[in-house]
């Protein structure tokens, strides 16, 4: 019964001549098109579609990551054998082990870093298309102050985060890996503190940007929401002071537009949220699988000894963790801002 009533309301809304006001979500970028092949009817359906495609994507990602991890385990096993040979220098074997791990891991790590950077760029570019549509829909619904503040804040923080990732965090990941390799090669933990500082710097850069953004969004939502609510109340007062028939026509027209803008805003928002998730999920699965398998590899290799090369494997795991954090941070930023814009006025 509810569905029938909802359909009737939507048909009635569409029958009103509001063709001048159309808000459509930008299509899913190519990177996410595989995860959201059809236009979903509901958020839950779309989410299920993305999860199902992501599970299918898990298999090739696992095979790719497992190959690297098997090579690492084999190398560490051989190294521990070499270390147990009489007359073997621990320093030399550690150096060889470090170089082996570095050679085996650099190519996949570099590919995953490139994937992370590409994902951040794609998410950011999609956000630049989605946010103006959502902002205009909220403004059409009477939330001019809220939408302007949310738009400015989100685009600014998105630019900040993207710049921080491409100009600071990604080079820092390389610096972190370089320091880890150097530390493992030199031994004695000479560069350990510097490496830990770099990791701390990367983690906190992301955290601080997200904390400030969340704070900004929370405060903006309350302050500008009140201003918009007051403006809508003032407009209603103006209408109520008019000639009854004109006031009634104006009131009906405004109400229709508010409702239809709300319906369109929700539709754009839901599609936008799913599109953002579709772009993010593939790289997240690929990097995440590599992260988990490297953790397992580190634990398995720890049994064989070869402390420094194993520690280097764990450092590569940390770098993968950083990649997961940076792609997820951009995704989270877009999800939060889209949800806030969907909430709209008051």
């Amino acid at each position: 019964m509810k569905k029938v009533l909802l359909t009737i309301i939507i048909i009635l809304l569409l029958a009103v001549p509001v063709s001048a006001m159309e808000f459509t979500a930008p299509p899913v970028p190519e990177a996410g098109a595989d995860f959201l092949p059809d236009e979903p009817e509901t958020f839950a359906q779309g989410l299920w579609m993305i999860v199902r495609e992501a599970v299918d994507y898990l298999q090739p990602s696992l095979a790719e990551a497992a190959g690297v991890c098997m090579c690492l385990i084999a190398a560490i096993m051989l190294l521990s054998l070499a270390q147990s040979l009489p007359g073997a220098s621990e320093r030399i074997t550690n150096l060889i082990g470090t170089l082996t791990v570095a050679v085996l891991m650099l190519q996949p790590a570099s590919a995953l870093i490139s994937l992370g950077v590409q994902t951040v760029t794609e998410l950011s570019e999609y956000g630049k298309l989605l946010l103006p549509v959502m902002t205009a829909a909220v403004a059409a619904q009477g939330g001019a102050v809220t939408s302007a503040a949310l738009y400015t804040g989100t685009v600014l923080f998105d630019a900040l985060l993207s710049s921080a990732i491409s100009q600071i965090i990604v080079p820092m990941v390389y610096v972190f890996l370089a320091l880890s390799i150097a530390n493992s090669a030199v031994g004695e933990g000479m560069l350990g503190k510097l490496r830990d500082f770099i990791k701390w710097l990367m983690t906190w850069s992301l955290k601080i940007i997200l904390y400030i953004f969340t704070g900004y969004i929370s405060i903006t939502g309350v302050v500008s929401g009140t201003a918009d609510a007051a403006a809508i109340k003032a407009a209603k007062l103006t209408i109520s002071g008019m000639v009854p028939v004109v006031g009634s026509i104006l009131s009906d027209a405004s109400e229709t537009i508010l409702v239809s803008a709300g319906v369109m805003k929700s539709a754009v928002g839901v599609y936008g949220l799913l599109a953002v998730l579709a772009v993010w999920i593939g790289p997240f699965v690929r990097i995440g699988v590599q992260y988990i398998l490297l953790k397992v590899t580190g634990a398995v290799c720890g049994v064989f000894g070869a402390k420094q090369p194993v520690s280097l494997i764990l450092d590569f795991t940390k770098a993968m963790g950083m990649l997961l954090a940076m792609t997820s941070a951009v995704c989270l930023l877009l999800l939060i801002s889209t949800v806030c814009l969907m909430k709209g006025v008051g």
């Binding site: 009103v16 001549p17 509001v18 001048a20 006001m21 220098s89 320093r91 030399i92 150096l95 470090t98 170089l99 570099s110 490139s114 103006p132 902002t135 205009a136 829909a137 909220v138 403004a139 059409a140 001019a144 939408s147 302007a148 503040a149 738009y151 400015t152 600014l156 630019a159 710049s163 100009q167 990604v170 080079p171 390389y174 610096v175 370089a178 320091l179 390799i181 150097a182 090669a185 030199v186 031994g187 000479m190 560069l191 510097l194 407009a235 103006t238 209408i239 008019m242 000639v243 028939v245 004109v246 026509i249 104006l250 009906d252 027209a253 405004s254 229709t256 537009i257 239809s260 803008a261």
Partner: protein, 158 residues
């Protein structure tokens, strides 16, 4: 990415060289200490070199551009809503008059003109069709009373 690869290779090479050098140093002599110190300096230089090139200028002036962009987007949304509201008001007003005209047995065409100021309300009515003076007076008075549009703002054609 080519530059990053180059950087990484240079750091790894320096680290490897330092590692090999240090591996030949046994004991705690002055030479070992100097080699260790020089290794550290070389590595620090190799690692810190790209950090010098980080540029964050221009990010602050970006906020001004963003504010203008936000204003444009909001105005676009408001304009779209206003256009849609105007279209509804116009058609509803015309339908309302046509409904009354039909009840009076009048056949005519109606066009409403909305005010420029906000909120846009009907300020002028153009009525086209052959109407008897009695019916015209009746409809005219009804428009004045119900819609608040004076006889001067009612344009009768035909």
């Amino acid at each position: 990415m080519g530059a990053i690869r180059e950087y990484l290779i240079s750091v790894v090479s320096v680290a490897a060289m330092c590692g090999i050098l240090n591996s030949f140093m046994k004991g705690k002599g002055t030479v070992t200490a100097v080699i260790k110190f020089l290794s550290g300096v070389c590595l620090a230089l190799a690692i810190a070199s790209p950090l010098v090139n980080i540029k964050l200028s221009g990010l602050l002036s970006y906020t001004d551009i963003l504010n203008i962009e936000a204003e444009n987007v909001v105005t676009d949304g408001e304009n779209k809503a206003q256009q849609a509201i105007s279209a509804i008001i116009k058609s509803e007003t015309e339908a309302y008059i046509l409904d009354k005209a039909a009840s009076l047995g009048i056949e005519l065409e109606v066009e409403s003109v909305l005010s420029k100021s906000q909120p846009q309300i009907p300020e002028k009515i153009i009525l086209t069709g052959s109407v008897s003076p009695y019916a015209k007076a009746q409809l005219s008075a009804w428009i004045r009373d119900k819609l608040g549009i004076s006889e001067e703002e009612q344009q009768w054609n035909g």
